[in-house]
């Protein structure tokens, strides 16, 4: 598959060179890339899902390691893996239902009523199909057949194998087709999550509200504009968001839409927040514990909001939900940008030079990209599926990701 290879390599290089930035752009392009990987992947007769998952894993590993701060890439890879598992599962279910195999299968919702022997717990787990914990067996045996992973019992694997053998030719095409359909839907979702979030704006913004935001986020802009279009009139304070100063863009856009906008410096956030009713910001990624990886400066805003008991609302599309728990995110999930955004090299080049007499430069310039906002500072997440508490994020994430995909890693060859 030279085509996929070149595509993947191109994308990896773009990620490494930071040609693509921003969670939405990376998410969309990752999904498109994975779609083409899937469509070009040759599917064996047996264990098609396993083959697909392996292929995605291999690509995903490269993509994730290319840029560790673009968490959206990993999110999308995991989403696609999850989609494959889901589609495979539903196909297996359909096959089982269609074939009406007796006695053996006890793995799916449809069959539950026919087979009351199942324990209640197993039923619940299967019914939810998203929160399946990895079974002990899976962990111990390294699960040669990934397709069986979603199933809660080993007997499910047996039935799966049988059903596969029953109508493999139709299923092989159908699986791929279904997966591609689902990935298309995912791409669609990524593109439209702004609108879905913005639809909820009127529920959160009232007349004469004073809103503060920092920097610029497309989601936030859409959100505010949606509220404005619904005839709410409110005021917005925009902190400019050094060092990118995207707040200027946002301010300009909001003014064009007729909103009363005041642009303030970042340093004036604390001074102004006492007169603000709500802080609405975008995020770079939302971690499983409800913490937010956000543009730099937001931790300060969140602290100020907490001080003045101002609700701190984070808007995040579902592609920003990351199933990982952060460890030392301020450092490990961060990236330092060029000092030139802060200092003029011409003026300070002599101090920043490593070749100076002492061997180490006297001057360091610190220009981080992200801030970590701990979950206790966040009042509410608004995603395309509605509003959620920070403490609920782990559960929401379980809807989108399968627990087996948390570590995206190419399976050792022996495993397949």
């Amino acid at each position: 598959m030279p085509d996929t290879h070149t595509l993947v390599n191109e994308f990896v290089i773009k990620l490494k060179k930071r040609k693509i930035e921003g969670s939405q752009a990376t998410a969309r392009q990752t999904a498109e890339l994975l779609r083409s990987v899937i469509s070009q992947q040759r599917i064996p007769y047996t264990n098609q899902a396993g083959a697909l998952i392996d292929a995605i894993n291999a690509v995903g590993e490269q993509l994730i390691s290319a840029n560790h701060v673009e968490l959206a890439v990993g999110n999308i890879v995991r989403r696609v893996l999850h989609i494959i598992r889901e589609e495979d599962l539903s196909l297996a279910t359909a096959a089982i239902a269609g074939l009406n195999l007796s006695g053996v299968s006890d793995d799916e919702d449809d069959d539950e009523r026919d087979h009351p022997v199942l324990s209640a717990a197993a039923v619940a787990a299967a019914a939810r199909s998203t929160l399946r914990p990895p079974s002990l067996q899976t962990l111990l045996e390294d699960m040669p057949d990934p397709a069986a992973v979603p199933q809660t019992s080993s007997s499910g694997g047996d039935s799966d194998g049988k059903s596969k053998s029953a109508d493999k030719s139709s299923r092989s095409r159908k699986l791929k087709h279904d997966v591609i359909e689902a990935v298309n839907e995912l791409i669609q979702d990524i593109a439209t999550c702004h609108e879905q979030i913005a639809e909820q704006a009127v529920e959160h913004i009232h007349q004469n509200e004073v809103i503060l935001t920092l920097g610029s986020s497309k989601t936030v802009m859409e959100f505010l504009c949606a509220a404005k279009e619904k005839k709410r009139s409110f005021r917005v304070f925009v902190a400019e968001g050094a060092p990118r100063y995207q707040g200027h863009v946002l301010a300009k856009e909001l003014v064009a839409r007729g909103l009363q906008t005041t642009l303030i410096t970042d340093s004036a956030v604390f001074a102004m927040i006492s007169r603000v009713n709500m802080v609405i910001v975008g995020a770079h990624a939302v971690m499983a514990n409800g913490g937010v990886i956000a543009p730099v400066g937001l931790n300060m805003v969140a602290l100020a909001a907490q001080r003045h008991a101002v609700p701190f609302v984070v808007l995040a599309g579902s592609h920003k939900l990351c199933p990982l728990y952060p460890h030392n995110p301020e450092v490990l999930l961060n990236e330092l940008r060029s000092p030139s955004e802060l200092l003029d090299f011409g003026e300070f080049s002599d101090c920043m030079d490593f070749g100076s007499a002492t061997g180490s430069p006297l001057l360091h310039v610190v220009n981080p990209t992200f801030d970590y906002v701990p979950p206790k500072l966040v009042s509410l997440f608004i995603t395309d599926t509605g509003g959620h508490n920070p403490s609920y994020m782990y559960r929401l994430i379980a809807d989108y990701y399968s627990a087996d995909d948390l570590v995206v890693q190419r399976r050792p060859a022996s495993g397949n």
Binding site: A242, D266, A268, S274, N299, L303, L363
Partner: protein, 673 residues
């Protein structure tokens, strides 16, 4: 004020006397002055005969610290009294971080600790002081018969206190407590003595009562009312007089150094005070209440002010609604006009004019720099001043200075430090003896200004540096925000001492003053990190101390400073990093402020839309055309006092809660400098 405790004090007539000595009342100007950095006060000066202020208390045998803590008045909740007191036999030595040497470095007589702590003995047991019934200081309710007199002359109040009580409690604690007079809760029976007042304190100055005194008087009256224990008749005059005895040590020559046994003396002092003319009449007191600042949303007054104004400023368009009450003008429009008028302006002295233009153009900024420039301009103006015929120097010069001041404030709103300096100068002018010739008066004023600059600003900075350097250890990472002259001096001095530390400079738009500081520190060979304010929570992990400058410290402990200081302090607080604010005491102000909106200054909004060195960001080039967009360029913000661990000032290192104390003390000091 805790009403619950009121009955106790009222009920019990037996009072344990606690004495408080304020020796070394600043007797003459020569001695007054900011603390000499070099001379740290010897411990011995704690003795009553010493020069520095050493309030001596005779604490009850036990519950000492309790009483202290509990007896604090509500509005000065955290004045750290307790660490100060240490019972010790006879002589005592200040302990704790608020000892005399820190609070009042040097044996400066200007720092009179007028804290009067009183405790009461109830049936041999010490009971906490009672606020509500407390009539501060010297308020005596003669009809209550409880506390009848207190002796300003020092010594113990023997009328109310049985000598045996004293004998029983030999413990004496010397503490330098910066409690303002108004705070001293006298339980009905407690009284305070001033000891060791110098005879020299009889000066013309005594005629003036400081605002602190007057406020103390108010408080005493209030407290007396609160007591409401039947002794309804509070003799105001008595209270005032009595209080004056406490607060202004130099007010009463008569009660100078006296042996402890002087009841009769007191009586006579009180009597003399009653009729004495040195109490401020009521209206005088009113006058002292700070004038409300000009509110620029008051149209009629703005119009009036405009007619008088020298600088014709045009109101900026597109103003932020929230800040209507602050002046905001088009920047840069009036400068050429003023420059052209340089040689025509009649009433304005050229030096004043020049400094005004420098303010306007932003060439002079920073609290100290602006203040010094202004004072020097005044000095020039005074040098060239001659009293017009048929006018008195005092009146005419004051009016002249006022017109200069209003010119300055048209150029740029006055900073609090400048306000304090102006107040100082005006009080100096007002107090000039009428007998002086014009040249003598001018000479005195000029030297006064010189002394203010050198003592209140330059020496104060040196003292601050000496204090602050003790807080820097090897291996520290010090964060500072913007560019503060005091902090810069501290860092440079610490570097000169050979301390190994690293500096993090946090900067913010639009002024980017941090870059200048960075340049200077790197030039001195100090290792620096530079970042912008948004990244402060990233960098705060590695920081061990935060040093901040301040434009002013208000009397509720709020630090009024360059915008962004509050953010830095807040993040430091969240990361449990100590925040040390460095501020000269002359910048303290008795105003209180809770937010950054009621009082602030607005800068040029245009600098917000343009980002230096970033040509790519030009989205808002034509912002003035859009009606919905306002740019807000705040200059200051107010840092809540709970974010501040310590304020380093020329009186030592104090918690923000002690600021009102210093404000009071300092206000009186103006009279003596």
């Amino acid at each position: 004020m805790d009403p619950r405790r009121a009955p106790r004090s009222v009920i019990d007539p037996k009072v344990r006397q606690v004495g408080f000595f304020t020796p070394g009342a600043p007797p003459d100007r020569a001695q007054s002055g900011p603390p000499e950095p070099s001379s740290s006060p010897p411990v011995s000066n704690m003795s009553p005969s010493g020069n520095s202020l050493s309030p001596v208390m005779i604490p009850p045998p036990r519950h000492a610290s309790d009483s202290f803590v509990t007896s604090r008045p509500g509005h000065y909740p955290a004045i750290p009294l307790s660490p100060l007191r240490r019972p010790s036999g006879g002589e005592s030595i200040p302990v704790g971080s608020y000892n005399a040497s820190e609070f009042f470095p040097g044996t400066s007589p200007t720092t009179v600790a007028s804290s009067y702590v009183s405790n009461k003995m109830v049936d041999g047991e010490f009971s906490e002081d009672v606020m509500p019934s407390s009539s501060p200081g010297w308020l005596r309710r003669s009809d209550s018969g409880r506390i009848v007199s207190s002796f300003p002359g020092g010594g113990f109040d023997l009328t109310a206190v049985k000598p045996s009580n004293f004998a029983a409690s030999p413990l004496t604690t010397v503490s330098v407590v910066n409690m303002p007079p108004g705070l001293s809760e006298k339980a009905g029976g407690a009284s305070v003595e001033l000891q060791n007042e110098r005879p020299a304190s009889s000066k013309p100055l005594k005629q003036k009562t400081s605002k602190a005194e007057r406020r103390a008087l108010q408080e005493s009256q209030r407290a007396a009312k609160a007591a409401a224990n039947g002794t309804a008749e509070v003799n105001k005059a008595t209270a005032a007089a009595a209080f004056g005895a406490v607060t202004s040590v130099n007010a009463k020559p008569a009660k100078s150094v006296k042996p402890p046994s002087q009841k009769k003396e007191t009586a006579s002092v009180v009597a003399s005070e009653k009729k004495g003319g040195d109490r401020p009449p009521e209206k005088d007191r009113k006058k002292e209440v700070p004038h409300p600042r000009m509110q620029f949303d008051d149209k009629s007054r703005v119009e009036k002010a405009k007619r008088r104004a020298v600088v014709k400023q045009t109101e900026a368009r597109n103003r932020v609604e929230l800040f209507r009450h602050l002046p905001q003008y088009e920047h840069g429009t009036q400068l050429p006009d003023l420059e052209s008028k340089f040689f025509q302006l009649d009433p304005m002295h050229p030096a004043v004019y020049k400094v005004g233009l420098q303010y306007l153009a932003g060439d002079i900024s920073g609290g100290n720099a602006r203040c010094i420039a202004m004072l020097q301009a005044f000095q020039e103006a005074i040098k060239d001043y001659s009293t017009p015929p048929e006018k008195a120097l005092v009146r005419d010069l004051t009016a002249r200075i006022s017109s200069f001041v209003s010119f300055f404030s048209e150029c740029r709103p006055l900073s609090i430090s400048m306000g304090n300096a102006i107040r100082f100068l005006k009080s100096r002018i007002a107090k000039l003896p009428l007998t002086l010739s014009e040249s003598e008066a001018k000479g005195i004023l000029q030297s006064d200004i010189d002394r203010f600059i050198s003592e209140k600003i330059i020496l104060a900075d040196k003292v601050i540096v000496r204090h602050a350097v003790t807080k820097i250890r090897d291996g520290d990472v010090l964060l500072t925000y913007g560019s503060s002259s005091a902090v810069e001096m501290i860092l440079v001095h610490a570097h000169e001492l050979g301390k190994q530390f690293r500096v993090v400079i946090v900067d913010s738009r639009p002024k980017l003053e941090g870059q200048l500081l960075l340049r200077r520190l790197v030039g001195k060979g100090i290792s620096c990190s530079y970042t912008h304010i948004n990244a402060v929570s990233y960098i705060m992990h590695e920081v061990t101390r935060v040093f901040l400058g301040a434009s002013s410290v208000l009397s509720n402990g709020t630090v009024y400073s360059r915008v962004g200081t509050a953010c830095v302090a807040m993040v430091a607080h969240a990361f449990r990093v100590p925040v040390l604010v460095c501020c000269e005491a002359y910048k303290f102000h008795e105003r209180v402020q809770l937010d950054s909106i009621c009082s602030n200054e607005l800068g040029d909004p245009n600098v917000i839309s343009k980002i230096r060195g970033r040509k790519d960001i030009n989205y808002l080039d034509d912002w003035a055309n859009s009606e919905n967009l306002q740019l807000l360029n705040l200059i200051y913000d107010a840092t809540p006092s709970d974010y501040v661990s310590m304020i380093i000032t020329d009186y030592g290192m104090v918690p923000p809660t002690s600021v009102p104390v210093i404000v009071r003390e300092y206000r009186r000091e103006h009279l003596w400098i």
